[in-house]
Symmetry: C2
Subunit: 283 residues, 2 copies
Amino acid sequence: MTIAPLIESISINKVFGGWHKQYSHHSKTVNADMRFAIYLPPQAINGRKVPVLYWLSGLTCSDENFMQKAGALRIAAELGIAIVSPDTSPRGEGVADNDSYDLGQGAGFYVNASQAPWSRHYQMYDYVVNELPVIIEAAFPVSNKRAISGHSMGGHGALTIGLLNPERYCSMSAFSPICNPINAPWGKKAFSAYLGKDRATWQQYDASELMGKARKFIPAKVDQGGADDFLKEQLKPETLEAAAKMNDYPLELTIHEGYDHSYYFISSFIEAHLRFHGEHLDR
Amino acid sequence: MTIAPLIESISINKVFGGWHKQYSHHSKTVNADMRFAIYLPPQAINGRKVPVLYWLSGLTCSDENFMQKAGALRIAAELGIAIVSPDTSPRGEGVADNDSYDLGQGAGFYVNASQAPWSRHYQMYDYVVNELPVIIEAAFPVSNKRAISGHSMGGHGALTIGLLNPERYCSMSAFSPICNPINAPWGKKAFSAYLGKDRATWQQYDASELMGKARKFIPAKVDQGGADDFLKEQLKPETLEAAAKMNDYPLELTIHEGYDHSYYFISSFIEAHLRFHGEHLDR
């Protein structure tokens, strides 16, 4: 028996023959209200159960950035793929926060926080992996075939979640991911706050560490701008590539000369990511 | 002799093999600093002079909305068309403003204001028609082939400017334009403020009035969402269509069922607009 989850509609827009919809709902996992957006392609409206690409956004973003700026919905409509874009953290009064842009609200880093005051709400790993797909698969005409992708902090989220759950995702990809957060300022700051001082715990959320040790593989695609201001200090794709090589992990990693960290970069290459996931979701 | 205009770079992003660039410059026409964005497709970087589509945005927008949300740059890169997106008004301290979203800064309505306090800066018609193209054609590798398009208030701007200057533009198009501002609340409010009480002056900036009287025609394409909240009271495409029929004006007007006033609508149909302009710019 499926009990329809209590999700509340915020907005709806027709786009490329399908529908972009925003919802809020109370999440038991993060113990707060969460917001997400879903794009349902025309095939879903015409009665077919479509696979789902989960998109995890970067620092300061909400469910809206990808849906509005990536230019992905045209291709999702063509391929018949739903896209789900959760918010990047719980928000609102009573949810712990920090003045900086890279910690607290808008910066959940897709981990399960163990440290006060964060642990009460910042359980974004469990929310994305376990709670959200149950809601999506109960409330919308989608199958249980899933792929995962994201940008920057969300690229870190997509890769770590894909690497830790190869049985749940057909494929994973990322734009400009934080590939080695345990050795990058953004990651060190967030992991210290959310996970405490034990670096062994941090390694459980580090894509390079996980890719070097993975035993079950899923197809992985990463694109990175060569003119990205965060490339050397924060993102470290070379560390991910080295881990993949060492472990024979099937990673396609490309550096695109001249492109930066923005959605202008994402929009230029999102079509290839959707077609990549489309191939693996079809199998 | 061409004197390079003094334009100051604000930002630059590589996108679809070309470049999105933002600039500010002092405008003699509006007597204030203005901002614009330009997309230069790969063909322009490779030494070809490309034609230019001018995009006029709607109320509250800046140069950024279209460039970030429309999904137009992919097709501009394919077709070799530059896109120029000016701001919707002068801005800043010393520029007259109003507390409402539909008058003053962000709401220039692409007219030449004759009334105080607006007349000192709000000369957006002359800025778009006369000053901006001179700057663009001096500073960038573009030809003098021009098309014009826009959304809502900017759709009104694109149609009126195209109708008043058929020798300057190869084609014009609009999404959800304010087709008959002299009979719509947005238009009445703005025209009263900027142009005063004389309705004969208002008619010079009304697309339906102008399309009904035009003697020289350029190809015109209008798309309108059928679920647009502003359709009946503010936009009135039926008035434009009636004027076109009366005057045999070559207008392609389509109502798209279910689509609203947002960039989700624009992104769904922008490709057809760029291909439309591409055909006429090529001749």
